[in-house]
């Protein structure tokens, strides 16, 4: 039952999402109205995102169940929403400089509109506390991204990418909704809080609970590209426009992890423990091991197959699968330390992944290819860009003094502090393997084709500035990372209703 005061408070807390809806409509309308301006929808989108960000910032410190327990507004959600928001902003800026998008369409109005729509879906997903809400949010996100992946529709591989994406995504959400229906049947409610209450009182049969859990996990796993739900990732990342690939690799992963964490803590938590104690989960299933197995599979497959890739986008796709594996390690420990490690890692992962993809985009703009061999001699053709790319790659590999190292440090330390040494060892071995393919690119840039008379590549100062704005924090946070850690520690408590 919901009374008026709850409704009013919920609406006031819903301001960021409302802003996004308004921006969505405005962008669409104004884009149709002003036919001459190419990027007007983009500017509106940026303005809308900034305003949403301001509203989001005002919600610091709120812990509230809104709209009769459909959504939860808490600091964990706020953190993830900020990540999503920042990624959207950066992607829209990237899109202004994307040749492949501008060559395919004269107008990009719907593109920006869809990005806003996807952001909206992600905001909802991050805050959902109701299974149907989760499904609706995932669908909103996914439908927008199916279209975005195939946006350059004359390009064959983009249409193939979007086809594979839609079929795989639809199947995964279909399996997820079936699992939800079973869970609904078992517990009599769709609300995570009520499910928790039910499970704590009653004993439910293990098989249906496990089955429904796994099916729901397949939906989340598809979003975060966990093995064995990752098969869409390489093909879609390779086929879609590079800005969308970048966006998917960071933002939708962030939203997926957010809902994964919230599902486990809110839905299956037994009692409220201390910071580093593991959550006791209801039911007889040891979810720790399930997630740990997924983590190992994901890391290993991601890293091993990336070694053989020659297309940059595909390589980065497998690399992002591997990073999802590391993140799953932190999730598998199932305590607040793990949550904070995930949050810290995402901030740095966003910077380095988006940076790497932007460099790929710039090179593709100039050289029309995403093959690794195109990067030969880049150290001399475009020194600044090569240096920034090196920073990003070293950060992805997790070497000091970059922020990627700090992220991995916190992930590994949360795993080791919970006693899963074997998991950490596998993680380290995987990092070693990953160094190979990152170093391969660096080697190509600096040690191949040194003497060739290839022309210098000149990039506009704005793009170089954007690359630097992503590279410098990657280095800076490698040394001075305390504010991020403190922010993550502040946000790591997922609100469970007490």
């Amino acid at each position: 039952m919901m009374d008026i005061s709850d409704l009013i408070k919920s609406i006031s807390l819903f301001k960021p999402e409302t802003t996004l809806i308004v921006t969505f409509m405005l962008a669409m309308i104004l884009d149709m109205a002003f036919k001459k301006s190419k990027n007007i929808a983009g500017y509106i989108a940026i303005a809308g995102l900034v305003i949403a960000g301001i509203f989001l910032f005002q919600q610091t410190g709120v812990n509230y169940k809104a709209f009769a327990n459909l959504l939860v507004i808490d600091s964990f959600g706020q953190f993830m929403k900020f990540i999503v928001l920042m990624s959207s902003l950066i992607i829209i800026v990237f899109s202004f400089f994307s040749n492949e998008l501008h060559n395919a369409h004269t107008k990009l109005g719907e593109y920006y509109t869809l990005i806003i729509g996807m952001t909206f879906g992600m905001f909802l997903l991050v805050g959902s506390a109701n299974l149907i809400m989760i499904y609706v949010a995932i669908e909103t996100m996914s439908i927008s991204s199916y279209v975005l992946a195939g946006y350059t529709r004359e390009v064959k591989r983009a249409s193939e990418a979007s086809l594979k994406y839609v079929i795989f995504g639809a199947v995964s959400s279909g399996i997820m909704i079936y699992g939800i229906s079973i869970l609904f049947g078992l517990t009599g409610s769709l609300n995570l809080f009520e499910i928790n209450q039910f499970l704590s009182v009653n004993n439910v049969a293990t098989l249906p609970l496990l089955l429904s859990g796994l099916m729901i996990l397949s939906g989340f796993g598809y979003k975060i590209s966990a093995v064995p739900f990752h098969f869409w990732t390489p093909d879609v990342y390779e086929g879609a426009p590079v800005t969308i690939t970048a966006y998917l690799s960071v933002a939708s992963k962030a939203a997926g992890f957010a809902v994964l964490l919230r599902f486990f803590k809110t839905g299956l938590l037994d009692s409220v423990p201390g910071t580093s104690e593991a959550w006791q989960l209801l039911g007889n299933i040891d979810w720790h091991y399930v997630i740990a197995v997924l983590a190992v599979l994901t890391m290993t497959l991601g890293n091993l197959v990336a070694v053989w890739q020659t297309n940059m986008k595909r390589l980065l796709a497998y690399s992002s699968i591997a990073h999802a594996g590391y993140l799953l390690m932190a999730v598998s420990v199932m305590n607040d330390n793990g949550v904070s490690a995930v949050l810290i890692y995402f901030v740095f992962y966003m910077l380095m992944n988006l940076g790497a993809f932007f460099v790929v985009q710039l090179i593709a703009n100039k050289l029309d290819s995403e093959n690794i061999d195109e990067y030969n001699g880049l150290g001399y053709r475009s020194p600044v860009l090569a240096v920034c790319m090196t920073v990003f790659l070293i950060s992805l590999a997790g070497l000091p003094p970059t922020s990627g190292f700090i992220g991995k440090l916190y992930v590994f330390s949360s795993v080791i502090n919970s006693g899963y040494i074997w998991l950490a060892i596998i993680g380290v071995l995987n990092s070693v393997v990953s160094l190979y393919y990152y170093a391969k690119i660096i080697r190509n840039m600096y040690l191949r084709d040194v003497e060739s008379a290839k022309t210098k590549l000149v990039f506009s100062p704005v793009t170089i500035a954007i690359v630097l704005m992503l590279a410098i924090p990657s280095l800076l946070f490698g040394v001075y990372f305390t504010p991020i850690v403190e922010w993550a520690n502040y946000s790591m408590n997922i609100f469970v209703g007490n």
């Binding site: 594979k164 079929i167 795989f168 064995p228 739900f229 091991y289 197959v305 053989w308 001075y480 305390t482």
Partner: protein, 727 residues
């Protein structure tokens, strides 16, 4: 202006010269002559900021010991490292010293280095140096200070060896860096001892640890050792005996460099360090410091008597004056030592810039007369410059008066204060300690002598060569800094009373910090007393006392700057005041006789210089060859190393090789087997792992078939397998 603004402004002051460095290094070639303008204007802004910071601190917050902050750099559980910056009164004044002199040197260099091929690089390096020096000034912990200490070393290496095509210049740069490195080694050991004992790099943490009685390795002598190790950094940086050999050679660098680095700032860093960590020195450490300073002051003054290169005279004079400052700090004259640092900075920089002005004019004259062989720096080639370069002469004369310690100058106030301090010290400690004031006064007399010798030979009389006749006064960017610096050497800036500085603002602001060392290991006369305690109670502690039998006075009250309620801060200050007039009269007599002697020998030629040189041939040669220090080091340390390495190499060639050859046959056979093992087994294993990984990767690739429907199948299989495993 609130307190909160001070620190961000000081950070800004620190970073702006770095901006000058970056601009000039990357865009210098394109900017050409403008880089000089950019460098100078950036430093001008920096000077403004420094003045604001310093004024704020000194006027509004003089009572606060230090405005500082700290941030945690990283925390690894058992190990926490904090860093930060802090502005206390000496830092505030140093900010102005560094930025003002750097600004004037920039201005000077726009003309002096005007024809140089690497014009913009020079300004870049100047900016880098200023940045590094300011870092030392505002640091409040050993870690940051050490980092910037090394940066200063690098900057000075770059600047000394600026004309790297000349072998002598690059050798000088190397010598400076290596000698400094030796000192830095001691510095580092000292820092590590302190960190190991007190667990922090921050000054205040270390001082707090010391006052609570914790000693390194539980041994008070180790605290003295730690102090001496830290002091070794100052020995290197401030060219004290025995590491003073690099400074004269550093004159190979351009003269503005000498003015900035080797007169005013970098060499002052050592003195600044000693002042900054003064609270941690035990009585033994302070004695060591005083002795080193005195020896340095004396030796280099004797060397300066006979040098004929204009800049070398000034270089040895610098070493000597630095010795004075260190000596003063060592005897406990904290305020006067720092005072001399500041006053010396102005007049030594002026002297060097004047030297630059003279050398520049000589170069111009040589160019004009197509002469490329005369040495423009040899004073025997000068003479009569008083008439051809009036402004240079006037400023030079005035700052020489300051350096010699003549009344109405700032140098008089500071030097007197130091000498009075040494007398007080000797009186309080007695015995062999009296050698310190004796050598100090002698060095002061020699200073007056050789400075006036320089003035008379170079400026007075008739020109000794055609070149000297054709010199002209230089342009404004050269003359203006000279005038400004000479102006700063007036007494007014520091005290209204031209004879006694202790009532001036400077002495009120710069107060000896409370020593952190427990009383048992500290000079009793340096322990600050409570303000309400009457002076007679302090009289109990006379004579050199290392004993623990200290009276009931509680030394843990900090006296606020400027509020000594009529009584003195400690016994030492009281004694210094008593000796003030004696020192003043004595130093005036000695300086006066030095000046008189100089005039008699060189101006009026009543006493013949050549006859004196013949009479004291041995001493003259000894002094002229710098007491043969370089030769000594070459013979002992350097050659010693070479001899040892030769011996080892002989041993290696004949003894060891013989054994090796004998065993080689056995080894080769064995090695062959091992080689097989390595190639096939070990490499095989590595390759096996790598190939296996690649093989797995390749096989896993095949999973990605490209058919969407197979993907769906894999998903379903995955769910079923997971279900089966975890049921």
């Amino acid at each position: 202006m609130t307190q909160d603004v001070v620190l961000p402004l000081s950070i800004l002051t620190l970073l702006i010269p770095l901006l000058s460095f970056l601009i000039n290094i990357f865009f210098g070639k394109k900017l050409g002559k403008i880089s000089g303008v950019i460098g100078t204007s950036i430093l001008g802004i920096d000077l403004g900021l420094a003045i604001i910071v310093a004024f704020t601190k000194l006027t509004s917050y003089a009572g606060i010991q230090v405005i500082q902050n700290r941030i945690e750099w990283f925390d690894l559980g058992s190990l926490q490292v904090n860093i930060g910056i802090g502005i206390d009164n000496i830092a505030a004044i140093m900010l102005i010293v560094v930025t003002l002199i750097s600004f004037l040197v920039h201005l000077f260099s726009t003309v002096y280095m005007g024809d140089d091929r690497q014009y913009s690089k020079f300004f870049a390096y100047l900016g880098l140096f200023t940045f590094s020096m300011l870092g030392i000034v505002i640091a409040n912990n050993f870690l940051i200070m050490y980092i910037f200490w090394e940066l200063v070393g690098i900057s000075s290496y770059l600047l000394i060896g600026f004309w790297y095509e000349k072998d002598s210049a690059s050798n000088a740069g190397k010598k400076a860096f290596i000698t400094n490195r030796i000192g830095d080694l001691g510095f580092f050991i000292g820092i590590m001892i302190l960190f190991f004992t007190y667990g922090s790099f921050m000054f205040e943490d270390v001082f707090a640890g010391i006052s609570s009685g914790v000693m390194p390795f539980d041994n008070p002598t180790m605290l003295t050792i730690a102090g001496i190790c830290i002091f070794m950094g100052a020995i290197g940086k401030s060219a004290q005996f025995p590491l003073h050999v690099w400074l004269p050679d550093a004159m190979e660098g351009p003269t503005p460099v000498s003015a900035l680095i080797h007169a005013a700032t970098m060499v002052a860093a050592g003195v600044y360090l000693v002042a900054k960590v003064f609270a941690m020195f035990t009585a033994d450490a302070l004695t060591f410091i005083a002795v080193i300073g005195t020896i340095t002051a004396f030796i280099s003054a004797t060397i300066a008597l006979t040098q004929v290169d204009f800049k070398k005279v000034l270089a040895y004079s610098t070493v000597s004056q630095l010795g004075f400052m260190i000596m003063s700090l060592g005897v406990g004259g904290y305020t006067n030592g720092f005072f001399h640092l500041v006053t010396h900075a102005w007049f030594k920089a002026a002297l060097f810039l004047a030297a630059g002005s003279v050398i520049h004019a000589m170069h111009q004259a040589m160019h004009h007369m197509h002469d490329h062989h005369t040495d423009p720096q040899d004073i025997n080639n000068m003479g009569g410059l008083r008439k051809t370069m009036p402004w240079t002469y006037r400023t030079f004369l005035f700052v020489t008066l300051a350096l010699s310690g003549i009344p109405l100058t700032s140098g008089f106030l500071s030097k007197d204060g130091i000498l009075a301090g040494t007398l007080a010290y000797a009186n309080l400690t007695g015995g062999w300690h009296w050698i310190i004031p004796v050598l100090g006064f002698t060095a002061a007399g020699m200073t007056a002598f050789y400075m006036f010798r320089l003035t008379i030979v170079a400026f007075h009389g008739e020109p000794k060569t055609e070149i000297a006749k054709h010199t002209k006064e230089n342009k404004l960017p050269i003359v203006l800094p000279l005038v400004v610096l000479a102006f700063m050497s007036l007494w007014i800036f520091y005290s209204p009373n031209p004879i006694d500085a202790s009532k001036g603002w400077f002495h009120k602001m710069i107060v000896q910090p409370k020593s952190a060392v427990p009383d048992a290991y500290q000079w009793s006369f340096l322990i600050n007393n409570k303000t309400e305690e009457a002076a007679p109670a302090v009289h109990q502690a006379e004579g050199a006392t290392h004993t623990a039998e200290i009276t009931a006075e509680n030394p843990h009250e900090v006296t606020k700057a400027g509020h000594t309620t009529g009584h003195y801060l400690n016994k030492f200050q009281e004694e210094t005041h008593h000796f003030h007039y004696i020192a003043m009269i004595l130093s005036l007599l000695i300086a006066g006789s030095g000046i008189l002697l100089a005039f008699l020998i060189y101006q009026y030629k009543t006493i013949s210089a050549d006859k004196l040189e013949a009479r004291f041939k041995f001493l003259h040669t000894f002094s002229y060859n710098k007491w043969y220090f370089d030769e000594l080091y070459q013979a002992t340390a350097i050659n010693g190393l070479l001899v040892i390495s030769k011996a080892l190499s002989w041993f290696d060639n004949y003894v060891v090789d013989g054994l090796v050859n004998l065993s080689s046959y056995v080894t080769r056979g064995f090695g062959y087997i091992v080689g097989l093992f390595d190639n096939y087994v070990i490499d095989g294993a590595v390759n096996l792992v790598a190939n296996f990984t690649g093989y797995c990767g390749n096989k896993m690739r095949k999973l990605q078939t490209g058919h969407i429907q197979s993907y769906v199948v894999f998903v379903l299989l995955g769910i079923l397998i997971l279900l089966y495993f975890f049921i």
